[in-house]
Symmetry: C2
Subunit: 477 residues, 2 copies
Amino acid sequence: MSRGVCRLREVVRFDEEADVLVVGLGAAGAAAALGAREAGATVAILEAGSGGGGTSALSGGVLYLGGGTALQRACGFEDTPEAMFRYLIASCGDAPDEAKVARYCEGSAAHFDWLVHCGVPFKPTFYEGVSGEPPTDDGLVWSGSERCHPYAGLARPAPRGHVPQQPHQTGPLLMRRLLAAVEAAGAAVRPSHRVVALVQDDDGAVVGAVAERFGERRALRARGGVVLCTGGFIHDDDMLSRHLPRVLRCKVRVGAEGDDGSGIRLGLAAGGSALHLDKASISLPVTQPWGLKRGVLVNARGQRFVNEDAYYGCLGEAALFGQDGRAWLIVDDAIFEEPEYVKRVAAVGETPEELGRELGLPPGSLESTLVLYNRHAARGEDPVFHKRREYLRPLETPPFGAIDCTTEGAIYAAFTLGGLRTDVAGRVLDAYGEPVPGLFAAGRATSGVSAGGYSSGLSLGDGTFFGRIAGRAAATG
Amino acid sequence: MSRGVCRLREVVRFDEEADVLVVGLGAAGAAAALGAREAGATVAILEAGSGGGGTSALSGGVLYLGGGTALQRACGFEDTPEAMFRYLIASCGDAPDEAKVARYCEGSAAHFDWLVHCGVPFKPTFYEGVSGEPPTDDGLVWSGSERCHPYAGLARPAPRGHVPQQPHQTGPLLMRRLLAAVEAAGAAVRPSHRVVALVQDDDGAVVGAVAERFGERRALRARGGVVLCTGGFIHDDDMLSRHLPRVLRCKVRVGAEGDDGSGIRLGLAAGGSALHLDKASISLPVTQPWGLKRGVLVNARGQRFVNEDAYYGCLGEAALFGQDGRAWLIVDDAIFEEPEYVKRVAAVGETPEELGRELGLPPGSLESTLVLYNRHAARGEDPVFHKRREYLRPLETPPFGAIDCTTEGAIYAAFTLGGLRTDVAGRVLDAYGEPVPGLFAAGRATSGVSAGGYSSGLSLGDGTFFGRIAGRAAATG
């Protein structure tokens, strides 16, 4: 039989049975287990590592939620599912799944309440100072490009980054609470179980899994279904080289070592199909502190290519995929601040011409770009990329500098966004768009809400949201 | 059982048997049938239409071949497999399959001889006048970006477009000759047979196919293997909307109606995996006559984004995927000629400023671009995009005009490049990179030599090349 699949009739006996088998215990797997337990199902969770956590426990812990959550309201922000939907559809790449985005936005406020119910604490205060992950224990932050062109004109902006209450890097807290909830709910956790095959019956229905534990094979029966929550493939060089070769050049790969594509391959082997394997979230945290948004990002032709006040998740994607990872943030002496993350100065010059020469840009190109930029910026305008007025000021105070935003010199933090194609019930779909019976998936083993243009918190957000749904669906078979 | 697959034990009886079943009778299918017959196999070809031809018979008939073919030598051009390899690896998108490209280049000269042996005539003369498809019956043309930056510096350029001897649109001639060879070779053609499922045995090996003919189902056994040569998915709106949404906006979809993704789905259902479904060839034939390469292509920000002398297959990809299909070719009165294909003039102005205003470009942006371009062009240089000297001249003679290169106003001719993942023997590979036993594929049902940056003739080239190989491999099982 082909790899990744085991026929039911080849299984001599099952070592264990449960209504629902969850594969992988990050945030999506925890939510799937909780969802299945809520529906009354018995649950066994097969985790390849020695304990739960996964990439979620290494993350910043931000959940992208909105539509008027209790936390948004407590902080005085109005938001609607419609505004959230419009923002996500406009920002999440070329071909976001509209049905999935709609379901996510409609259920987002209730999902926040559920997370609180699961024991995840959120302080009802708003942090204005930075996007993404606040250094304080505040609960709400901006974590996307909502206030930037063109999104601000398409949908009323609202901050939607929901952060568990703890300063910095709240992923571990989020996972501690979710794992405690999983334990309290009575789901059985099976660590050191690496699933090597799904068990299919003669009709192609997934009815179990085969796991390896310390070299020994164990067969587990799933009466209802199997939910794959195994994460993405940022650590699989083979898949990256075929689908995302440029990501191999990124300095930071965001993900626990289990993000090796194994669950995606299992799902494909069982008849599922994949979507958006060529898409990734690429963060380029070069505009921190935010005053650096007053700089000008240029490519190897000396041209601007993005509004510099876009969220750093967008900057990296634009620079890596649109400009082959060749970019520099041009600043002058008046706006220069020590960057928080991207430290390397590629060149300094007394004039834009000198700076351009040092960088090896085409003669005249950087000067041309700055002349046009400065002329508009002096009037507080940016008709080319529509950077917000507060970040517009002519760059004219020597010396001029170029902060290195190439893949060689800067931090590009990458994780994959593509995976198994699922419907709004978390069912894995085959090449004809029909469900593979008994097979479900959630989190970054799937293609989720975002197919590009990433906003922070979307993976923990859609992973827990659709994880819970998939767990419930698997429970009812 | 899931759609697209039929279990062997569900087949009551086979209506017909052959060593090799070929699905689809375009150029790839014809080559597969011939390859299988050369290996001594009996062959049945299942064609959904009423006769063979497919997209190949609608095409320009150009085959991209090189490495020193008899035709290249007869026309006085030197070429080597190494030069061809370097060009294709550099030009064929982000992640071309190196093993496949290498095999293709090594075997290209012999493949040309084989085509001649099959009865395809080529006149040993070179046509200098235009790229792609000559209006004469000359046999050799430029059909890619070999002479352009950066390729000219990476590999010695040679024309590699091999065109069967007939003026204009030689696809029908190519297919007439290949179909005659198929008939002479004794392969059985079964028209009006639409394959709806592959037959798999209990070990997952493909051992046949089920076809519908006039509403009746016929089961055909393949003793050696099945070769899918069903074409791409340019006519499947559902797949396009998920993988290539921008292609839905292209005015011209290049493909016979059978290019509906059906063979790709069959292969996926049988356990194969897919590659590069998000890639397409997009031709934007705006620089014909060639004098129009002296114009300047700008995007909605008034910036240049490509060297205008690149092959028109590259221009469309850069404009559609990089600029969201928003582009204009700026010309002045001195270089204006009546364009052959893209006729709509979007705006005219006495000055670049007026033209930019008419087009709605950001104030000052077009002027800025032209000032920089003109300054360098006056010296015969283009340090920004490295357009060749012969197409460089300042645009300064009013009135100025903008030829509409938006998806709304221009011809974007698209076909898909992604498909089943195959190895150099034409075997369909699963998610683990292992062959699906008994299953082979070729042509645009597969991801072939090109994963972007298209040069004309690569599809007929790799379709016939790997089609023949796949047919031979299927014959030996």
